[in-house]
């Protein structure tokens, strides 16, 4: 499990540039599924056939990650950038980023008197080039960059960049590896462009038109010193989302998840997230409406290069999904 998480969190794939992630996942799962295709927007859709008596279920985890978009290269070779997805400019100074070609840079800041002045237009990425010409050998305007991947195991927890949401991708891959049989037709969808507006899942859901859908994504916790009040804690099990800004979990799905977890003694917690959303937000509003919910993986320090997850929560999430898929709905 740790090896898979390390591998998959280390792949370059900011929103709109998910190709490499898609290739790796495709390779890992193609032996476990009955069909696999990439749709028009770049979502990877894998299909596993049921026994003809079950439902049509869509599982979605987004492949894309937040990052930077290069907007300008100055005469001294410094790169200016804007954000892809939810990136806080005040937390970028000193962070290392890599481009698609592996080139590393570090974020510097113009002189400022106060921290609140730190906005994107005060920051730059230094890739060690000393002129525009030199920089342009490695980078072009419109290229994207991600946090330089870092992965560590501390005790029973992993600290890594981009658990959001490669952890969700890893969970779906592990579900596929373990899933023996299910009555249901299952679509494993690895979506694009979630971080910029839940976009890929919307068109994938239109195409699949499932009976129900589950997003698998990370959520934040409220268990750190002086944290925002939130009743999700690392190590307390898989989190069953009740609500976030983009969706309210369908009552049928909520009941299904809670009852299944209870029945099989799977450690779980209920999640109410005040901000943010998951692919379920766009899926449930597709066509005539699709009952949807989210199985959340609790992580601390979301959208920083050092997100933290608990291995037992991951195992609980995998088990809950397997149990849901294994039973009649």
């Amino acid at each position: 499990m740790k090896d898979l998480i390390e591998e998959i969190t280390g792949i370059f794939g900011p929103s709109g540039s998910e190709e490499k992630v898609r290739t790796v996942i495709n390779k890992k799962i193609s032996n476990y599924v009955d069909g696999i295709e990439t749709d028009k927007l770049g979502n990877l859709i894998a299909f596993k056939k049921g026994n003809g008596e079950g439902k049509k279920i869509m599982l979605a985890a987004h492949m894309d990650q937040i990052g930077l978009l290069i907007t300008h290269i100055d005469e001294n070779g410094f790169l200016r950038f804007t954000k892809i997805g939810g990136v806080n400019p005040k937390r970028l100074i000193g962070q290392r980023f890599i481009l698609a070609n592996g080139m590393t840079g570090t974020v510097g800041v113009e002189k400022v008197d106060e921290e609140k002045e730190i906005k994107f237009d005060k920051l730059y990425l230094d890739i060690g080039a000393s002129s525009r010409e030199e920089a342009e050998k490695h980078v072009s305007i419109g290229d994207s960059a991600i946090y330089k991947p870092q992965f560590d195991v501390s005790g029973n927890r992993v600290i890594s960049s981009y658990l959001d949401n490669r952890l969700g991708c890893a969970v779906l891959i592990m579900v596929l590896e373990k899933l023996k049989k299910s009555p249901h037709d299952i679509y494993f969808v690895f979506t694009v462009q979630e971080e910029v507006g839940l976009r890929g899942a919307k068109t994938a859901a239109y195409q699949i038109n499932p009976d129900l859908a589950l997003a698998v994504d990370v959520t934040i916790t409220g268990d750190t010193p002086e944290a925002h009040t939130m009743d999700v804690a690392l190590g307390n099990g898989t989190a069953i989302k009740i609500k976030d800004q983009a969706s309210i979990t369908h009552p049928m799905i909520k009941e299904l998840l809670i009852l299944t977890a209870k029945k099989h003694g799977i450690k779980h917690q209920l999640e109410v997230l005040e901000h943010g959303g998951t692919d379920a937000g766009s899926i449930h509003l597709t066509r005539g409406g699709i009952p949807s919910g989210t199985i959340s993986l609790p992580i601390r320090y979301v959208h920083t290069p050092s997100e933290m997850a608990d291995l037992n929560d991951i195992k609980a999430s995998i088990e809950l999904i397997l149990r849901v898929l294994g039973e009649e709905i």
């Binding site: 929103s15 749709d39 927007l41 907007t71 100055d74 237009d121 419109g142 507006g197 195409q207």
Partner: protein, 339 residues
């Protein structure tokens, strides 16, 4: 002159009729058919029976403007903005209201009568009014109705290779599609979508795309140029005169990689000067189109315009020609390679 005719026409969001009629007359001899959909989008189709990728070229007909919200007893008119307009630049502008284009001027207290404090701040919208020279409410009612829309009276003009006028966003896109349909024969079906209500929430064009189900869509836009004093060079979103701007990502869409590559190839091959749009703020109809049904690969190409969403903006006509050349070059790639 097409740009003059189109930009001087009135077409505030939801009232695009005048623009639609101009476009119909322009494209009619050159297209297989055209129709207006339920939303009011005008769709002109050329080469419908041809094989090959079905392409949407989209531009919006509507412009930002004003809506009359109250007729005062004094005969003065209160108004609100439609779409994103900088309220601070409204005072003293000449406007025209409604289908009969009643002339008016946006008034406010003259400088002699203002308090010192008032002079320090821009005049807020609720202190502004439109004066149509009516003596009282009854007289005003004969000329204007509640809900009438108003635009600025700006005339189009050219200064060397530069043009000034109103509503370049996005009549320049409409003009480009019209001219492409007039000048070119296509080897594949091309749907010119002239959309309504972009400025109030990207509402029109996606409905047209829903019905058409194209293989790809390219939005032609007027975009903001910030190459002016007060902006650092690294903050220029686009630069006037540096060619059409290709969007990689804005707040509504990430340009589809395949189209992006094709556009860049076409630009290199035909030596078309281009620039990237160097900001991710602002959204376009391409965002809504891209999420229709199973997803539609979409891209945005823009002509940089200074002073966008104001009574007068400025653009470079070579950039405009470059935009058209880029579309032609890309179409040549599509004809050869398919999509």
């Amino acid at each position: 002159m097409l740009l003059k005719k189109l930009t001087e026409a009135m077409g505030v969001s939801s009232n695009e009729d005048e623009v639609r009629e101009i476009i119909k007359a322009e494209v009619e001899p050159y297209v297989d058919r055209y129709y207006t959909d339920m939303m009011g989008n005008l769709i002109a189709v050329k080469g419908e029976d041809k094989s090959g990728p079905r392409v949407v070229l989209s531009a919006h007909m509507d412009e930002v403007g004003l809506m009359i919200t109250k007729l005062e007893d004094s005969g003065l008119l209160k108004f609100k903005t439609v779409g994103g307009i900088d309220e601070r630049i409204l005072v003293s502008k000449q406007v025209q209201i409604g289908k009969s284009k009643i002339p008016g001027v946006i008034g406010a207290k003259a400088i002699h009568l203002q308090q010192k404090e008032e002079q320090k701040k821009p005049i807020p919208l609720n202190k502004l009014y439109i004066d149509i020279g009516a003596k009282n409410k009854e007289e005003a009612e004969k000329l204007v109705e509640l809900g009438d829309l108003a635009t600025f009276t700006t005339k189009y003009s050219q200064i060397g290779e530069y043009a000034t006028g109103k509503a370049f966003d996005d009549r320049l896109g409409c003009a480009a599609i019209i001219e492409l349909m007039q000048e070119e024969e296509f080897d594949f079906p091309v749907y010119g979508v002239f959309a309504v209500q972009e400025e109030v929430g990207l509402r029109g064009s996606a409905r047209a795309a829903y019905a058409i189900e194209p293989d790809l869509a390219i939005e032609l836009e007027g975009t903001s140029a910030s190459d002016v004093p007060g902006t650092e060079k690294h903050g220029y979103s686009t630069t006037v005169g540096e060619g059409p701007a290709i969007t990689v990502m804005d707040s509504s869409v990430i340009t589809h990689k395949k189209i992006l590559k094709g556009l860049l190839k076409a630009a290199e091959k035909n030596e078309i000067k281009y620039q990237y749009r160097r900001t991710n703020v602002g959204g376009t109809d391409a965002g809504m189109i891209s999420l229709v049904k199973e997803g539609i690969p979409a891209a945005v190409i823009s002509v940089p315009c200074r002073y966008i969403h104001s009574p007068v903006s400025l653009m470079n006509l070579d950039d405009y020609q470059g935009l058209k050349a880029l579309v032609k070059g890309y179409f040549a790639e599509l004809e050869k390679e398919g999509f």
